[in-house]
Every structure is written in structure tokens, then in C-alpha cells.
């Protein structure tokens, strides 16, 4: 195996999922090759589990599990992000609603901001959360191409509107997906110049086209700005 040149060893490492790749660093040379190469993975999942469920949780072998009792977790993520770009990253937050400083999502946000190597980011909340202000999204929309929020109970319309303005401006993010309550949804649309009359949407702006799809009996509204 070690008779293969570095170039070919790198190609083999690149075919492995991150966990297997890191495990393959069994001597100095492989360790160096891995550290010096850049890798790309299509999909990666970070899952937060409450400490009390640590032993019980079903684990998929390639996912990254994060819990408070594992002090290495962040160093591990940092090591992974430092030479791996991820096309689609999903962060599942399962612990009680912690969003503040030092929380998992806060740490992930710092990593994404530093390495800027995430394509699509999905943040999935497993607990009820009410997002009051836009600061939660800001660094995400600056550093990934697409942001999806799943399981958010409520987001303040003001926050969504601010995010919208940032995306319309110069943010890296080109797409933002989230669920809104009906009232908040209509309020947001009226803020950006889209009127809802009955079942129809009307755009009062030259640069906005609205496409409405009905999915599972729910309105799904896509807004295209510009041409």
C-alpha cells in the first residue's frame, strides 16, 4: 500500500467518508498526506444529543455526535472543517433550547464563518424555538450558499425581513428556506411588496416575480428577485 505514490494515496483517501479517512492515518506519511490535502464530501451530519440519552441514541456510523460531556467535540469539528469542504451540512439540535454563546450551533457558526466551505446548511431544531432577532442568521447567510431552517416554531417577521434585505444585497447565501406561520408569512410578503388577495399573490414590484406552489395542502411561496 505504502509503495503507492502520495498522489494515488490521496485519491484513495478522497473516496472515503471523513471518519474512515481520519482513521486511515496510521503512520507518519499517511498522517501528513491527509493533513496536506483538501477533501470534499457531499453530505455530513452533526447531531446534538442530550447527555442523558448518550448511551441510548441510535448512531449512524458516519455522523458526528456532539454532547456536553465530550470535551473533544469542538477540536474534532475544527480539524474536519480545516481540510474538508462540505456540500450539504445538516446540524440537528436536540438538547433543550440552547442557542446562546457556547452552544453547539454557536460553535458551528464560528467554524463556518472561519472556513467558509459549506454549500448548503440545514439547521434542524428538535425543540420549540422562537427566533426573535436576525443576529442568529447573519453569519450563516454570509458564509453558506443556501440556508434551510427546519422545525422552527416561530420567527419574528422583522428578523426574516432583515435577512431578506441582506440576501437581496451582497450575502453569499442565495436561498433561504424556513416555515412561517400564516399571519407572519402574509405580513412578511406585504413588507416586500407582495399582496395576497384570496388565493392569489400579486407583486407590486417590477423586479419581483412570485411563484406559488401548493405542497401538501400548504402554500409554498418562492420569491425571485431580479431577472
Amino acid at each position: 500500500f505504502l509503495r503507492l505514490p502520495n498522489e494515488l494515496l490521496t485519491k484513495i483517501l478522497a473516496l472515503l467518508p471523513p471518519k474512515d479517512r481520519l482513521k486511515a492515518r496510521v503512520n507518519k506519511r499517511l498522517n501528513e498526506i491527509e493533513a496536506q490535502s483538501k477533501f470534499h464530501v457531499k453530505e455530513f451530519r452533526i447531531v446534538e444529543i442530550p447527555d442523558m440519552f448518550r448511551r441510548l441514541a441510535f448512531r449512524s456510523p458516519q455522523d458526528f455526535y456532539f454532547s456536553d460531556q465530550n470535551p473533544y467535540s469542538c477540536a474534532c469539528l475544527r480539524r474536519l472543517f480545516s481540510n474538508t469542504s462540505i456540500e450539504s451540512l445538516t446540524v440537528t439540535l436536540e438538547a433543550e433550547g440552547k442557542l446562546g454563546q457556547g452552544s453547539l450551533i454557536d460553535k458551528v457558526r464560528d467554524l463556518i464563518k472561519e472556513f467558509k466551505n459549506i454549500g448548503n446548511l440545514t439547521i434542524q431544531f428538535e425543540f420549540f424555538v422562537y427566533i426573535m432577532d436576525e443576529s442568529f442568521f447573519l453569519s450563516f447567510v454570509q458564509s453558506c450558499d443556501e440556508l434551510t431552517l427546519l422545525g422552527v416554531n416561530q420567527i419574528a417577521v422583522e428578523a426574516i425581513h432583515t435577512v431578506y434585505k441582506i440576501i437581496e444585497g451582497s450575502a453569499k447565501c442565495r436561498r433561504f428556506k424556513c416555515d412561517l406561520l400564516m399571519g407572519a408569512y402574509y405580513l412578511f410578503l406585504s413588507r416586500i411588496g407582495i399582496e395576497v388577495r384570496g388565493r392569489y399573490f400579486y407583486s407590486n414590484r417590477d423586479d419581483i416575480e412570485v411563484l406559488v406552489m401548493v405542497r401538501n395542502g400548504r402554500n409554498c411561496c418562492s420569491i425571485f428577485v431580479g431577472n
Binding site: I12, L15, K19, K23, A24, E43, R79
Partner: protein, 167 residues
């Protein structure tokens, strides 16, 4: 029409023009030497030297090419649930590569890389990756007979930063 290929140990292989063309490297060399399918004289009077490939390996490469000469150029399936860029090794290829001991497999990978035969190269690299997939570090070291020359400090660093891998 046939093309003559000469290996590092001076063995001459006569192969069909179509087979020779499957190697990007051989294609380029033929072009450089003004050898063309329609010009029999150019094919008869020239041979392609391949100093990086031995006779034994060349025979295996040609066997693979014979099987795949009628393949449609295919798009790689790149999607895998867990995010690897995966190449699906067909059953025939799996059987074919089973016949090679690991050392030979590595030589074959080197040859496929040098000759630029993408399909064969992908088959072999994916086969080796599949051997590593799901194994623990010490199992990988044992499988490939790799002596661990990492210092204690390096081992500690690896353990610290990638503890999640050993879950």
C-alpha cells in the same frame, strides 16, 4: 488495425487500435508519432514504448480493456448517501480484481494512472477504498502491514482531535 505496445521488460503486445485508444497516454503518443487508424504503414513501422508498465501488469490491463472496449462513455454516479464520491465497481470488475493480490493491485493502479485509463483507475481506487471502509485504525495498519512510526505526541494529537472517529 493493430498497434504494438512495448513494456519495460521489452515484451511486445499487439492490440487492436480501439484498445490502444482507451489509454489517453497511448493515444497521445500515437498522435505524436503520426500513427493513424487508416495508415497501416504507420502502425506497422512504429511501436509505443511504455517504460512504466511491466509485462505481467500490461497483460491484466489489456484483459480489462478487452472486456470494456464496447462500453458507452458513462457519467460517474457521484451521489452516495454518506457523501462519498462513489464509483460503482461492477460485478465483473470485482471478480476481475479479486484475482490480483494486493501488491499487484497497487501496480495495476499505478499503470492505470500512468496510462490514463479512467475506468480501470476508478475501479481499483474504489476497490482499495472499500477495503478500508468501516475498519478501525489498527485493523487498517494490520491489513496493509504498516508499521506505526508516529511519535507519542503525534498519536496524542490525533486522538485528541479525532476522538469521535473511535466512537
Amino acid at each position: 488495425p493493430n498497434v504494438k505496445l512495448v513494456t519495460s521488460d521489452n515484451e511486445e503486445f499487439v492490440v487492436d487500435f480501439r484498445i490502444a485508444k482507451m489509454s489517453v497516454t497511448v493515444s497521445r503518443l500515437m498522435e505524436a508519432m503520426n500513427m493513424s487508424e487508416t495508415d497501416d504503414a504507420s502502425l506497422l513501422s512504429n511501436s509505443i514504448p511504455l517504460p512504466n508498465v511491466t509485462k505481467a501488469v500490461m497483460a491484466r490491463v489489456i484483459e480489462w480493456c478487452e472486456k470494456h472496449k464496447n462500453d458507452e462513455p458513462k457519467e460517474e454516479k457521484e451521489n452516495d448517501k454518506r457523501g462519498r464520491t462513489t464509483h460503482v465497481v461492477s460485478d465483473w470488475d470485482k471478480e476481475f480484481l479479486k484475482n490480483d493480490e494486493f501488491g499487484r493491485l497497487c501496480q495495476l493502479m499505478g499503470a492505470a494512472n500512468y496510462l490514463e485509463i479512467k475506468g480501470l483507475f476508478n475501479d481499483i481506487s474504489q476497490t482499495i477504498a472499500n477495503m478500508i471502509h468501516g475498519k478501525k485504525s489498527d485493523e487498517i495498519a494490520e491489513m496493509f502491514n504498516i508499521h506505526c512510526d508516529l511519535t507519542e505526541a503525534e498519536k496524542k494529537e490525533i486522538r485528541k482531535k479525532t476522538a469521535w472517529c473511535e466512537d
